[in-house]
């Protein structure tokens, strides 16, 4: 298992040994959203970077999850359909959303690393 990478949209990505990338949202993001009551997962198909692939609904509002990189979704976390609260309870673990095969495997490493993501959060907090 490699270290996590992050997007400015507060998604985390983990490149696994099989070349697939697992995606979820960060602890900061789930905290900001509040109690998640519904997750609409992506279809198993190809998407372009920036495509809206999933929707998270909290008690109050809906927010979109964008595809972090070009690639093909190969697996979704079906457990979230009956237990959306896993996104709040275990965002980096059981609350994962989907796994995809990136069109360009090296693109993952170009995303924010842990230190860069923390700088982003600190900058947001100061803004």
């Amino acid at each position: 298992m490699s270290e996590l990478r992050f997007t400015v949209e507060h998604e985390w990505l983990r490149q696994d040994a099989d070349g697939l990338v697992t995606v979820g949202i960060t602890a900061y993001a789930q905290e900001a959203l509040g109690d998640v009551v519904f997750v609409q997962l992506p279809e198993v198909q190809g998407y372009a970077e920036g495509d809206e692939v999933a929707v998270l609904e909290s008690v109050k509002a809906a927010s979109n999850i964008a595809m972090p990189l070009d690639g093909e979704v190969v697996e979704v976390n079906g457990e979230l359909e009956s237990s959306p609260e896993l996104v709040n309870e275990d965002p980096l673990g059981k609350g994962w959303f989907f796994r995809f095969r990136p069109a360009n495997a090296s693109a993952v490493a170009d995303l924010l690393d842990q230190a860069a993501y923390e700088r982003l959060l600190n900058a947001n907090a100061d803004a």
């Binding site: 109690d35 519904f38 008690v59 109050k60």
Partner: protein, 374 residues
């Protein structure tokens, strides 16, 4: 951020201290949730007691021997025969029968009425009162002078009775001057959650002391606007600007029950409020569309603004309020649908992100009301 332009309630510093997430609401910087989170805050209120800061709402006093008669010219509600110590739900109507705001009116005795109006409408309501009845009674705004706290839930009575035992004897919609911690307050046994509970009007300078004292009781948690909205939605209660507006009459908003018998077409003091002609006409002839409760049959929440369609895909209405009901454990909504679709259990569909979500027209409240009627 332009938070510096937002008004603050007397409890603002307390909200920050409690770790609330603040959002702009009706010109105020208000707590949408505390660290507990909307879901747990909602469930705690139904289970024990929740304290809400609703000081952004407008409190207004009308005084004078003609005050009740004057107010009756603006609302389709019996104010003249409102007993001393009772509160009643009302709405200001306009000349088309549209709803300018909804409000609570209490009779304090001594020719004095106490009004609570919505935050977003309060300046306009005050101007409306001054313009139309300002020459017939004295109108005093308590916008700055008073805070308003709501203590809601099945344990609210136990908590408040520790400060003032007499509140335990009050029944739903009773209103009384009560001394709390040595301060003269007004207490009504009412609220906006469907639960038993109280609303407490307290002088602004004493609000924080009272709030801290109530929060120190083991049953009480601070509850934000997020849970206030999900609680009122499960209780089937309307939110002004969403479930009713100047574009809807009380008949269309399914609020005929709130038009007092004395003010109806066959009543003792029929009409003589703005829009009475149109409202009576609609009562007699029916309306094109009406507010109903809606239960989505899937887990996906259906939000305000979603189109409602029939089996053929023809648009027949719009969702006016919608979200997830934590007590129900399922999404709940209200919407306006054409009158052919208002019967309970009628199947209709909402369009959510381009997909049809099956719903059923349902009775409100979605969760049983638990008011204390003695």
């Amino acid at each position: 951020m332009t938070t510096e332009t937002l008004a603050k309630t007397p409890l603002h510093a307390l909200h920050i201290e409690l770790g609330a997430r603040m959002v702009p609401f009706a010109g105020y910087d208000m707590p949408v949730q505390y660290p507990l989170g909307v879901m747990k805050e909602h469930l705690h209120t139904r289970d024990a007691a929740g304290l809400f800061d609703v000081s952004h709402m407008g409190q207004i006093v009308l005084r004078g021997e003609h005050a009740a008669r004057a107010l009756e010219t603006l609302v389709p509600v019996d104010i003249i025969d409102l007993p001393v110590g009772m509160q009643r739900y009302a709405m200001f109507t306009d000349d088309n029968g549209g709803i300018l705001d909804d409000l609570m009116v209490a009779n304090l005795g001594n020719d004095t009425l106490f009004l609570v109006v919505n935050a977003a409408c309060k300046d306009q309501d005050l101007a409306h009162l001054q313009k139309h009845i300002g020459s017939q009674c004295e109108i005093e705004s308590l916008f700055e002078a008073r805070a308003l706290l709501a203590l809601q839930g099945p344990k609210a009575v136990d908590v408040l009775a520790r400060l003032a035992p007499e509140v335990a004897k009050m029944t739903f919609m009773q209103f009384a001057p009560v001394r709390l911690l040595g301060v003269d307050c007004f207490v009504s046994r009412s609220g906006y959650t469907g639960e038993d509970g109280f609303e407490i009007s307290v002088p602004a300078e004493h609000a924080e002391t009272l709030a801290r004292s109530l929060l120190a009781e083991p049953e009480v948690e601070a509850i934000g606007l997020g849970a206030r909205d999900s609680l009122r939605l499960e209780a089937g209660l309307c939110l002004y600007g969403h479930d009713m507006s100047t574009a809807t009459t009380p008949i269309e908003a399914s609020l005929l029950w709130a038009i007092s018998k004395a003010r109806r077409l066959d009543g003792l003091r029929a009409g003589n409020f703005p829009g009475a002609g149109r409202i009576f006409e609609q009562q007699r002839d029916g309306v094109a569309s009406k507010r109903v409760g809606l239960l989505p049959q899937e887990r996906v929440p259906v939000r305000e603004g979603a189109e409602i369609v029939d089996a053929d895909g023809t648009v027949i209405g719009t969702v006016c309020s919608g979200g997830f009901g934590p007590t129900l454990g399922a999404p709940v909504a209200m919407g306006y649908v054409q009158s052919a679709f208002v019967a309970v259990d009628t199947p209709v569909w909402a369009m959510v992100r381009g997909k049809r979500v099956a719903m059923k027209v349902a009775k409100t409240p979605f969760v049983p009301q638990r008011y204390y009627r003695g």
